[in-house]
Amino acid sequence: MKTVFTRTPTLKDCLTHYCPGCGHSIAHRLIAETIDELDIRGRTIGIAPVGCAVLAYNYLDVDMIEVAHGRAPAVATGMKRTNPDKIIFSYQGDGDLAAIGTGEIIHAAHRGEQITVIFINNAVFGMTGGQMAPTTVLGQTTATTQQGRDAANEGYPLQVSELLALLPGAIYVERCALSGPAQIQKAKKAIKHAFELQISGAQGLSLVELLSTCPTYWRLSPVKAMEWIENEMTKVFPLGKLKDESQRPRISV
């Protein structure tokens, strides 16, 4: 029989704790495949967030650290500055990166830290029970916006990637969606590009935002959840490259 699909070695052979249809599992696989294709397992260090992906080190077979909620970009800074030859990536949810850790991500990008950030935007705090995230869309009901998010009270959804793309220290920012095979292929390409930039020694931060399903707290089936990304989320969070300065020359003053 011809083998058409195998588990990539960096993705451990085990069950995950993720809910059925959760985007985190897909994101993990894309990262693991990238690490194996680029043959960097032996020099990669990953940073797991506080959020549903807090146990990412149980699934990704690379050296990993679990850090305080939102602080991953500061931890990554400490790692990369002392180990410029290592490949450092952080994996962060929207509560982690866009709420409690806004300061850390903005300043890591601002300093142009040569790290890669995988940003999982599922429009809720999954781990704590589906509360509003800064990325929750208007009208979306969550545990803490039971009548739907209202701009007058909770503000508008926060487009962090757009904000980050404004900073000279961010060299590559792209938003993709884990909403179906074609989009997932695009996401894989973006993730690989972000890692390749770091490997090449490019002078700045690379970030890929992934619109990702949370069927449990969206109260949708896995298939409907993917449709909701395409139909609703992408209206607020348009897909595509926000910035790619991979050709930017090395600066040293």
Binding site: D63, I65, E66, V67, V75, A76, G78, T82, H107
Partner: protein, 355 residues
């Protein structure tokens, strides 16, 4: 460098850290320790090492967390309000057992307080400071030379026990100039950092974490930490004792307050009062045994602090009610004078003599 040179405490401790092999410094400016950050910004790159001015103390301590996890010697420094902001990170460092050195050049509090010297952060430094069941080693040097000597010790202790070490100085010690010598002591023999994150080349993955979810696993981890803390208590207590054997009164103080006490006790001796001192150098582990032993022999303790009374609680625990423990302290930038301490010694000893 073995000749005597004149340096302020902040710069001297920074150079001592460099000599001790500090690979990376991360910090955010705050008075009265700005000289450390400025000095490091110049000297670390000269040595080919890492300096980053972070965007906050939250970030600084997490940069320490990251660098330490890869096996590097790393430190940060701040003053009281900044150290409060670091407590989350220190708790994570303790939980994940990451070696690290945190210098606190204490200032007056609570809140923004003022920028005057203080010893108001003793509780925070010796009780853990952040959430959860943990301890940090806390060192309380009293001269610039001792500050210099305690930096290599702090890094060694951190590496040996995989523990955060707090160096408690204060605004006076940080700012004062004193002649010092950078003694190059050999490092302790330290365990290999085979737990460090270096990329899992040719080996299984390493994981650094403070999360223990399976039932019973965190309690097990807590017992492991406690066993380590007991080793620290058994092996690492440092304190100085002076004329304790025949003393009727022993004055206990640490850091800059101990310098005042030293002068007051010497004056008291000249006036025929049998006074002595005990000066804890490690604040945690606390010299409980030494104080308990002294409590069997004398009639009273006086504790002097630049706070409203924090270390006095540890003294009381050590003395366990055997003899009275009296406190004298000033806070918010107030510094006890030699005469004030001497007066207190007299008040406490004269009635004793009359008996």
């Amino acid at each position: 460098m073995s000749e005597r040179i004149l340096m302020c405490g902040n710069e001297a401790l920074a150079e001592a850290a460099i000599i001790a092999g500090c690979d990376a410094y991360f910090g955010y400016p705050i008075t009265p320790q700005n000289e450390i950050t400025a000095y490091m910004s110049k000297r670390m790159p000269e040595e080919g090492r890492v300096f980053v001015q972070s965007e906050s103390e939250l970030a600084a301590i997490n940069m320490v967390f990251g660098a330490s996890a890869t096996g590097k010697r790393t430190m940060t420094s701040s003053s009281s309000p900044g150290i409060s902001l670091m407590q989350e990170g220190i708790s994570y460092l303790a939980g994940a057992e990451l070696p690290s050195v945190i210098v606190n050049v204490m200032r007056g509090g609570p809140g923004l307080g003022n920028i005057a010297p203080s010893q108001g952060d003793y509780f925070q430094a010796t009780r853990g400071g952040g959430h959860g069941d943990y301890r940090t080693i806390a060192l309380g040097p009293s001269t610039v030379q001792e500050l210099v000597d305690c930096m290599p010790l702090a890094f060694d202790l951190a590496d040996q026990y995989r523990i955060p070490v707090v160096v408690l100085a204060d605004g006076i010690l940080g700012q004062m100039m004193e002649p010092i010598v950078f003694n190059k002591k050999p490092r302790r023999s330290l365990p290999p950092k085979d737990w460090a994150l270096t990329g899992a080349k040719g080996r299984e993955q390493n994981i650094v974490r403070s999360l223990w979810l399976p039932e019973g696993s965190l309690e097990k981890h807590n017992y492991k930490l406690q066993a380590k803390y007991q080793q620290v208590q058994k092996n690492e207590v440092l304190c100085e004792q002076y004329e304790v054997d025949d003393a009727e009164i022993i004055v206990i103080a640490y850091g800059v307050a101990a310098r005042i006490v030293r002068s007051a006790v010497k004056k008291a001796r000249q006036e025929g009062i049998k006074a002595g001192w005990i000066r804890p150098i490690t604040l945690w582990p606390f010299p409980t045994m030494q104080i308990a032993k002294a409590a069997d022999e004398l009639s009273i303790f006086l504790v002097v602090e630049m706070s409203m009374g924090q270390m006095v609680e540890d003294v009381k625990l050590a003395v366990a009610g055997k003899v009275p423990v009296v406190f004298y302290g000033r806070a918010g930038g107030g510094v006890p004078s030699v005469d004030q301490v001497l007066e207190k010694i007299k008040q406490l000893t004269i009635p004793v003599k009359k008996q």
